[in-house]
């Protein structure tokens, strides 16, 4: 019963990393939200899937490699789900092997079903 009382919130990460601050500030929010014992999902679609690409090294830009945080979001920060849209990966020539951490790869139909369960969306 208690499970049902949790608020379901989904982050929609649709932007590429480094070109804008969206990924970085989205992660700041994810880390914070995780501490509140609600039911938080993070979905990567469109250019957001690039945020999960292995091998990022933004040191030449004077920036930090935020992608490593995704590896510990579920275990250390109690994010319930990390979803990636299958079609967005394919369109960008990426496969599961290119991703820095284990995620649930869903097609749009399955993802939309998850979205229908949400109370609120935080789009980036």
């Amino acid at each position: 019963m208690e499970e049902q009382e949790k608020t379901k919130v989904m982050f929609l990460c649709r932007k590429a990393p480094y070109g804008t601050i969206f990924e970085q500030e989205a992660i700041e929010a994810m880390v914070m939200f995780g501490a509140y014992e609600q039911d938080i999902s993070v979905t990567f679609m469109d250019d957001g899937v690039f945020s999960l690409k292995k091998g990022q090294d933004p040191s030449l830009l004077g920036k930090k490699n935020f992608s490593k945080t995704y590896m510990i979001l579920k275990d250390d920060f109690e994010i319930s789900h990390l979803y990636v849209e299958k079609e967005s990966l394919e369109e960008r020539g990426l496969t599961e092997d290119d991703l820095i951490t284990e995620v649930e790869i869903l097609d749009r139909g399955a993802l939309r079903k998850k979205m229908d369960e949400m109370k609120a969306f935080i789009p980036f």
Partner: protein, 115 residues
């Protein structure tokens, strides 16, 4: 009904805050409750030093007007510090607080709409 409003763009540059202002004004007239969270560049909307031409809308003053109508406006502390919206620069309508307030808004509002 309680409506949560998330604003991610700064003043003047994008229409987001203008659209949100008109949306909120309409919602209040309809008797709805509204609470605002300012994130990303949205924190700039509360800059106390903005001084647009006299014949142009003054966005921080529009926020003050919403506040007098009972709208709480929370400015993300992390996004604000990074950009220089801090105690010395925030307008009186803006209340600096943490990202937890955004999640609280997701919980306590009936709808969250992003501009």
């Amino acid at each position: 009904m309680k409506l949560g409003v998330l604003i991610k763009d700064g003043p003047y540059m994008h229409q987001a805050m203008d659209s949100a202002y008109n949306f909120i004004t309409a919602a209040l007239e309809m008797g709805q409750e509204v609470e605002v969270f300012l994130y990303n560049d949205g924190v700039y909307n509360t800059c106390n030093f903005m001084d647009p031409p006299r014949d142009e809308r003054h966005i921080a003053n529009l926020l003050a007007e919403l506040q007098t109508k009972g709208v709480r406006m929370v400015v993300c502390v992390a996004a604000g510090k990074r950009r220089g919206i801090v105690t010395n620069t925030v307008c009186s309508a803006g209340e600096i607080s943490g990202l937890g307030q955004l999640l609280e808004l997701c919980i306590t509002s009936d709808r969250l709409v992003t501009f």
